[in-house]
Symmetry: D2
Subunit: 401 residues, 4 copies
C-alpha cells in the first residue's frame, strides 16, 4: 500500500446499483476536485465472470476478477471499496483491514451488531498500521445536509426539541414484485429498516450531533409471500415465469419514536410501501431558535426558518444550495445549476481521498456505523418485545475493548 505516486488504486467489490454509483464517483472525483491524490479504477470484482467483465468494460475499470480474496491480497491495491449486500461486508472488510488496505464499506456496516463490533475492533487495529476506514453513509455529503449540520453546529437552531425523519419509497407495493435479495433476511439483514432506516438514523444523529438514547418500535411485513425473481438490477426486477413463491423474511416498514440524548423527541419511519413516494428521505428539525427541513427528492434545496428575524418576515426560506459558498459546490456549476443523487458519492470519495492522502481519519468511522447498528438493533428488539422502550446500547464500551 502506497500513495507515494499520488495514486490510490481502488479495488471495488460489487457491480450492481452501488457499484455503478461508486464507479461514477471514482471516475469523476479527480476531474472536478483538486486533491492530493488521484483515484485509479484498478480492479473490479464480481461473482459472475461474464458480467464482471462486461461491467469492467462499461464502467471503466482496468481489470476484473471473480475472487474478492485475490483483490484483497493484491499488493498494488490501496483501497478496498465494498459494494456487496450486507451479508459479506464483515468477511471482506476484515480481510482487507488485515491486509492493511484502506476500506470504504457501504452501509449498513454489517448485518448484525456482533459483526459490526468485530469490524470496528479490526478497524482500530488496522488504524495503528495506517489503514483508514469509512462507512458509506453518502447522504452526509449532500450539500444541503452538510449545510444543515453547519447551521446546527453554529447554534442557529438553538436547543433541539424535535426531529421527524422518514424515508419513504414504494417499489414493492405491488405484491407481484419478486423476492429480490433485499427482501431476504439472510442476505440483507433487515428490510426497509437497515436499507433506508439506517440512512435517517445516521443523518439525524450527524446533523443534530446527538445520539438516539432509546426507542419504541413497530415493524410490519405487509406482503408475506412473493414470487421468486428471475433477475434484478438496481431496485427493478423481473419475475420468474415459473411463479414459485417464497417468504419475505424482512420488514416492509419500520416506525419508531425515540429520545435523543440531548433531550429532543424524535419520530422515524422507513417504508417501501409509501405509494407515490419514490425516494423521499425527509427530515425536519425544530429548535428553540430555528428549524430546518429537507427532502431528498429535492436535494438541492434546504428550508431554513430563522426565528430570530422580525416576526412579520419570518418564514421557511427555500435555500437553493448551489452557491459556491455552500459545502462541496465551489467545484461544480454556477448557482441554480443543480446536481443529482450521484454527486453525494463523488463528494464522499473527495473526502475519503483527502483524508487518506493527508493522514486523517475519514468519517463516518466504523465506530460511528456501529452506533447506527446498535440503534437498528434496539429497534428490532423493541418491535419484538411489543414496542417496549429499549435503550440503545453504548458503542463506546465495545470500542474500548
Amino acid at each position: 500500500m502506497s500513495t507515494t505516486d499520488n495514486q490510490l488504486r481502488v479495488g471495488m467489490v460489487g457491480y450492481a446499483f452501488m457499484g455503478a454509483a461508486h464507479s461514477q464517483a471514482w471516475r469523476t472525483v479527480n476531474r472536478v476536485y483538486d486533491l492530493p491524490a488521484r483515484a485509479r479504477m484498478a480492479l473490479i470484482c464480481g461473482r459472475d465472470p461474464v458480467k464482471v467483465a462486461e461491467a469492467a468494460d462499461r464502467l471503466g475499470w482496468e481489470e476484473h476478477t471473480t475472487d474478492w480474496r485475490e483483490l484483497v491480497a493484491r499488493p498494488d491495491i490501496d483501497v478496498v471499496d465494498i459494494c456487496t449486500p450486507g451479508d459479506s461486508h464483515a468477511e471482506i472488510a476484515l480481510a482487507a483491514l488485515a491486509a492493511g488496505k484502506h476500506v470504504l464499506c457501504e452501509k449498513p456496516l454489517a448485518n448484525s451488531v456482533a459483526e459490526a463490533r468485530e469490524m470496528t475492533a479490526a478497524a482500530a487495529t488496522a488504524r495503528a498500521g495506517g489503514a483508514r476506514s469509512m462507512c458509506g453513509f453518502n447522504y452526509r455529503r449532500v450539500p444541503a445536509v452538510a449545510l444543515m449540520r453547519q447551521l446546527v453546529a453554529d447554534g442557529r437552531l438553538g436547543e433541539i426539541r424535535h426531529v421527524r425523519a422518514s424515508y419513504l419509497q414504494d417499489w414493492i407495493v405491488d405484491p407481484q414484485f419478486p423476492l429480490v435479495w433485499r427482501l431476504r433476511k439472510e442476505v440483507s439483514g433487515s428490510g426497509a429498516l437497515g436499507d433506508i432506516g439506517a440512512h435517517i438514523i445516521d443523518l439525524t444523529q450527524y446533523v443534530t450531533g446527538q445520539r438516539i438514547a432509546g426507542v419504541s418500535a413497530v415493524t410490519e411485513t405487509f406482503v408475506k409471500q412473493r414470487p421468486l425473481p428471475a433477475e434484478s438490477s438496481g431496485l427493478a426486477a423481473q419475475v420468474d415465469g415459473a411463479a414459485a413463491t417464497g417468504p419475505v423474511t424482512v420488514d416492509d416498514a419500520a416506525i419508531f419514536i425515540a429520545r435523543l440524548d440531548g433531550g429532543a423527541l424524535a419520530t422515524y419511519e422507513a417504508t417501501r410501501f409509501a405509494t407515490g413516494r419514490k425516494n423521499a428521505l425527509r427530515v425536519e428539525i425544530n429548535g428553540s431558535l430555528g428549524s430546518v427541513a429537507f427532502d431528498l427528492e429535492r436535494l438541492n434545496e434546504l428550508e431554513f426558518h430563522d426565528a430570530t428575524r422580525p416576526a412579520a418576515e419570518q418564514g421557511f426560506s427555500r435555500i437553493l444550495v448551489t452557491e459556491s459558498e455552500h459545502p462541496y459546490l465551489s467545484a461544480w456549476w454556477p448557482p441554480g445549476h443543480i446536481i443529482g443523487y450521484e454527486h453525494s458519492f463523488t463528494h464522499q470519495m473527495r473526502d475519503f481521498i483527502e483524508a487518506v492522502a493527508t493522514g486523517v481519519d475519514p468519517t463516518p468511522s466504523f465506530a460511528d456505523a456501529l452506533q447506527v447498528q446498535l440503534v437498528l438493533d434496539a429497534v428490532v428488539r423493541s418491535a419484538e418485545l411489543g414496542s417496549s422502550w429499549t435503550e440503545v446500547e453504548p458503542a463506546l464500551a465495545t470500542v474500548a475493548v
Copy 2:
C-alpha cells in the same frame, strides 16, 4: 324546544377564540346555504359581565348572561353550543341534555374518559327524547378532508398501509410565554395532546374509517415553569408584570406510534414547539392503490396520487379543492377563490342544522368523541408506563350501558 318556526335559537357558552369562530359560523351559515332551519343567535354566556356584554354586542348575539345554568334552563333556547375550556364541558353538556337541548360541544369532548362516558350515556338518553348531540371536530368539514374521506371510501387508495399525522404549532416556544389556561391540566386536561392531538386522531380515524387499536407514546414538557399571565386572548397572551411563575402541568409535545384496526401503521405527533410551524396539521395516507396528503396551512389543496394511472404520468396532483363538485363548495365562490379556517365551522353548523332540522343524528357523535378520548387516554397511560404498548379500550362497551 321547537323548530316549528324553522328557527334554531342558539345559546352559546364562551366568547373567546372558539366563541368568536362559532359566532362567525352561526352568523354566516344561513346566508350561504339554503337550509331547512335558520340559526338565531339568541343568547351568549360568559363569566365576566362586562366582557360578555361587549361580546354580545360585537359578535351579534341578541342577549347575554353570566349564568350558563340560566341559559340551559331557558325554554326558548333550542341549541346549547359549548365553547368553554374542557373542564366545564361535562357539567354544561349534562345539564343541557337533561333539559332536552340539542348540544354542540367543542373538542375534546371532556377532560377525562369518565366524563366522556357519562356525557355519551347522557346523549344516548337525551336522544330518546329528540335531543341531538355532536362534538366539534370541525376539521372533518374542511372540503379537502371531506374529499380525502370520499376517496378512501370509494376505494381509490386500496388497502391502507400507512398513516402519518402531525399537528405542529410553535406558540409557546418562548419560555417567557405565560402560563395560560391551556397549560394548566386542571382546566385543559392535557396540553398539545388533547388540544391538537385530538384533532389528528379524529381526522385520521374519520378519513380511513379505521380505529386506532394500540399505541406506544412519549410525552414531554420542555419548559416546566412559566410566568403567570395577566391576560390572554386566542393563543396570544401578556405576561403579568409581577413575574411570578407557576408550573406547566401539561405536555408540550406528544408523539406516538400506532396500529390501526385495519392493519395500517401510523405515526402521530402533536407539539407546540415546532418552531416556524403555525398551524401545520399534516396528514399523509398511503394505500395499495394511491395516496393522499394534506396540510391545514394550505387547506384548499389536496394532494392525490393515483397509482393506477400510467407510470410515466403518475405524480401527486395538487387538487385545488374549490370546485362546485367538491364537498361544501357549490355555495361559495368560483373555482380558485379560496376559503379559510373559519369556513370549517360554517360547514359544521350547516351539517348540524340540517341534521337537527331533519331529525338525523349529526356526526361526530359523543360516542365518536369518547373513542377519541379513549385513544388520548391510552397515549397518556403508555407515556406514563415507559412507552409500553397500550391497547385502546373499546368505546362500545361503555355506550352499551
Copy 3:
C-alpha cells in the same frame, strides 16, 4: 346622509357574485373590527323582483327594490355600493354622487375612459360636499399584498427592475360554455383584460408605487362563437337548450409588455384560457435588494427574498401572512389559521368605513381607477394598431379640468 348615529346605511345595487361577496363583507366587518361606524345592510336593488326579494332574505338586507334610482334617491341611504356589470357603473355612480352619497364602485370603474373621466370629475365635485368615493380593487386588501406594498415602501426591494404579472383562469376553455354577459362587449366593456387584467394593473402599480408609462399589446379571442346562455350565476352558467349561438365580442386573453415610470420592465398576461389555473393572480417583483412573489391561489403566503442576507442563507422565504403583526390580521384568528378570498372584501369595507367615518378619502380613488382605465385603453389601442408602442395618457390632465 348622516353618520351621527354611528351607522352607515348601505344601499347595494346588484346581487350576483359581487353582490354576495359584498354582502358577506358588510355583514362581517363590524363583527370583527372595532370601527367608528357600523354598516347597516339597509337596501338591496336588482332588476328581477322575485330574485331580489330572495337575495334580500338570504343575504340579510332589510329592504329591497328593483329601481336603483329609488335607492339613490332615498335620504336614509348613506352609501351606494355598485356591484353591477360595468355598463351601468357610470350612470349609477353619477346619480349617487349627485345625491351626495358615499360611493363604492366595483372595478373596472367604467367601460370607457370617457365614462371614467366623467365619474372622476363628479367624484371631485361631490367630494366638496362631503361625499367620499372609492373603487373596489379588493386585492389591495389581501394581507400579503399589503405586506408587499410595505416592503417596497420601506425600500426592502431597492430599485425595482422587473414586474411580471399574470392573472390566469380557465372557465371558458370549453367552447360550449355559453355567451354570458362577461363575454359581451356592450355589457362588460372588455373580456379578460378589463375583468382580471385590471386587477393586475392596479395591484402592480399599487405595490411598486410606479405607473405604467407605455405598452405593447396583443389580444385574442380564441373561441369566436358560443351558445346563448339560459342562466348564469357567478362564473358558472348553463346553455340554453335551443342552441342558438352568438359572437364573442371581447378578448379571451390579453398579453402586453410595459415600462413603468420608475424604470422597471414589466410583462402582463390576463387570460381565461389557462387550462388548470383557476384564479392564479401571480405577481413577482425583482429589485436591486430583494424580490417578492405572490399567488392568489395561496393568498395567505408571500415569498420574500432578501438579497442583503448572507449568501449561504439566502432564499425565498415563505411568509405565512397570518401573524398579528401583518396587515388586517390582528382581528382574525391565531397564526396559521388562514383566511380566504372573501376577507379581502371585509378588509376593504373596514378601510372604507374608517375613512368615511373619520373624514378621510378612501383609496383607490376614482382618479386612481381612471388611471387603470387609461392603461386598459392603451392596451386596447396598441393591440388594434399591431402592437405598436402606446404611451398611457396621463390621468392628471383630466382631473385638473
Copy 4:
C-alpha cells in the same frame, strides 16, 4: 474521419464553463449508455498554453493544443466540439465542416444571422460528404422537457393557446460585478437575450412544435458601466484592482410578446436581474385539453394538468421524472434518485453519438438553430424600432439558396 473502430475521437475547443460541462458528458456517456460508438476525449484546444495543459490534465483529455486550426486539420479527429464564445463559432465551424468533421456547436449558433446562414449552408454542403452537425440546445435533453414534448406530440394538451416562458438569473445585479466577456457585444453578440433567451425560444418551439411568427420586444441595460475584470470563471469573476470601467454593450434583460404560427399567444422574458432567481428557466404551456409547467431549478419534475379527468380530481400532477419509462432515464438510478444539470449534456452526447454512428442527422440542426437566430434578430429589431411588431424572417428561404 472514420468510426470503423467504433470510436469517435473528439476535439473540443474551449475549456471554461461549457468546456467543463461537455467534458463531464463525454467522459460519462459511454459509461452509462450502451452505444454503437465510443467517444474518445482526444484533443482539447485553448488559447492559454498553461491553462489548456492544466485543463487537459484535470478534465481528462489525451492531448492539448493552443491552435484550433491544428485541431480542425488533424485527420484523426472525428468530431469538433465548439465551446467558445459566440464570436468564434462561425469561423471554427466553417473550417471544421470544410474538413469533413462532425460538428457540435454550442448555442447560440452564431452572433449574427449572416453567420448563422453561412454555417447552415456549409452544414448542408458538408452533409453531402457525410459530416453531421448539431447545435447544443442541451435543455431539449432534460427528461422532463422531452416528456413535455411527448405529451404535446401525443395530443394530450390539445390545441395550444398559451406559452409563457422566462429564464431568470441574477448574477449581475451587483453593479460592481465586472465587465466579463458575456457583457461585451463584440464577443457575445447579445446579453441575456442570446445567452438564455435563446434557450427558451428553442425550448418552447421544440415542445410545441410551433414557430414564433412575430414579436414585439423591449430590451434594457440597467447598469451601463462596469469595472473591468481581472479574471473570470463560469459565471463568477473578480474585479481588477485598478477599477477602470467600461461600457456594457449588451442587454441586461429582454422581454417580448409573440404569436406562434399555430395560433398561440406567448410571453418571453430573459433577464440577469431577477434577484433571487438563479437559473429559473420556467415554461408553462396551456392547451385546450391540458397544461404543463416546468422549472429548471427543479428539473426532475414536470407538472401536468390533464383536463380530461373528472373535475373533482383535476390538478397539476407533480411527476417526478425519474422513472425508467421516462426519456433517457432507464440507464440511470432507481426512481426518485434525481439527476442534475450536467446530465442534459450527457444525454445530448448520447443522441449525438447515436445519430453520427448510425448515419442519422442529429437535432437540433444548424437550420433549426438559424431559425432561433432569426427570432433573436426579430426581437432586436423590434426593440430598436420602439417595440413595433416584427415578423420573424423565414429560415427556409435562406437554406434554399
